[in-house]
Symmetry: C2
Subunit: 267 residues, 2 copies
């Protein structure tokens, strides 16, 4: 399975325009042989748009119909972030749409980042769902979620082969893009793709540095600071060989890990 990843500033407060942009990106990715296209966090509306705009533009899954149409037209799977209306609240969500236009996963960011996220979103997500596509089990996380080892670990223990992560990572968090992403791939023996914004259109200075990493932690494709598209191909026999050579998941010692479920300020 070939992954395409778009690092882009996207469009601000222009969801119809974002669908047009998405269609051009999907066409380009498909023409280069990609099976799935990964776009950044809150791609549909822009990220740092403030609570009023996030609420005003929030949509339910039904509002994703134009993206389902794009997936079907170009026969390519899509993953992107959007403001999801959930009752009276807005979740920072990511969706996986299959190449037939069906919605395969809808994940709601479970770890909110500081006042920035908390002003716009509620942490409604409590599940880490997995869907299968082209023989790979895929999980989604959003931005800050991947800075914690636990969500990725949960997905790996549940059988995930690939993590796809829309993000909106700004200065000065280069260590996350440079080191945490390949570390998550290595420690869980997963493919990990991390799609960031570029530029500073919404008032934040994005670091870019999107990447796709392999199950041995190898950096298969990496962006600089500017708008770009990355590609990398997942290889199931390679992933199986990595896992057989060093059984990192089987070598865990859970009985020693004690209270990893201990208190936090949020639970």
């Amino acid at each position: 399975m070939k992954i395409a990843l778009v690092q882009t500033p996207g469009l601000l407060n222009n969801i119809p325009g974002a669908f047009v942009h998405m269609a051009t990106q999907a066409a380009e990715a498909k023409s280069n042989g990609a099976d799935i296209l990964l776009l950044p966090e809150m791609y549909l509306s822009g990220y740092n748009i403030g609570p009023q705009a996030a609420r005003a533009q929030s949509i339910t899954v039904e509002g994703l119909a134009p993206a389902q149409e794009i997936a079907k037209t170009h026969n390519i799977a899509l993953v992107f972030g959007y403001p999801e209306r959930v009752g009276d609240n807005v979740a920072n969500s990511a969706v996986l749409i299959g190449p037939d236009g069906s919605i395969l996963l809808n994940y709601r960011k479970s770890h909110l980042f500081g006042d920035l996220d908390r002003a716009m979103f509620k942490a409604i997500g409590t599940e880490f769902p997995i869907a299968e596509l082209h023989g790979y089990k895929i999980g989604l996380l959003v931005c800050y979620d991947i800075e914690f080892p636990e969500p990725a670990r949960r997905l790996a223990l549940a059988g995930a082969d690939i993590l796809l992560i829309p993000t909106a990572q700004m200065e000065p968090y280069e260590q996350v893009a440079k080191h945490v992403i390949p570390a998550r791939a290595y420690e869980n023996q997963l493919y990990v793709a991390y799609a960031n914004h570029s530029g500073n259109d919404d008032g934040l200075s994005y670091i870019g540095l999107s990447s796709i990493c392999g199950p041995d932690g190898a950096i298969l494709a990496a962006a600089g600071k500017t708008e770009t598209m990355l590609y990398a191909t997942c290889n199931k026999p390679h992933q199986a060989a990595v896992r057989a050579a060093d059984p990192l998941l089987a070598d865990r010692r859970p009985s020693l890990y004690g209270p990893l479920g201990a208190t936090s300020r949020l639970d």
Copy 2:
């Protein structure tokens, strides 16, 4: 607190020689203002010495008296790996000796690496103890332990400020040295020092790449492939500021993490 780290091939099957080498390294580290000297995994005997030699040279904590004397003489704390005799078994252990010569921590590697470790050692360790030195809470791990996020997480949740990790990391595991070490530092907001062997005296090709990372994931000092000594200074106000700016430990959502204590082949 200033950390000195020695990346060295060390000596093979020559414990008296290793104590002499340790004394020269301690003197040099102290003359450069270090408060603690970190040496590699199985420093005292060499790492890849095989089960017979590991057993023949294994010692109880009492056998560490010459190192206690070195610590006292040079008024510097020491951390190094050694083959520990535990009843009929040999543990791959690391010890922290205070600058007054007292034994502050003795940790037994809990995650054994492949047939190499399992031929020589038993995974006797079930605890992740912490000791205080110069106002910092210090935890020890050994090599493969740090490739799992859980042991470092346990130590961080128990209040550790610094992780000191003797290792014997060989080709092709450069991703661990380059990415997993700064990721552990970042995600747990700890100082992490990782002291590797260099060279190939014992038949393994060591990658070097020892490093000392800060609580924001910054790489404070990093070695190449050859023998060297690194220094970095821990700064408590900086660590507190990092933790206050981004409360990564408090932002955890343990109630969502589910069965991180689920089955493995070892428990």
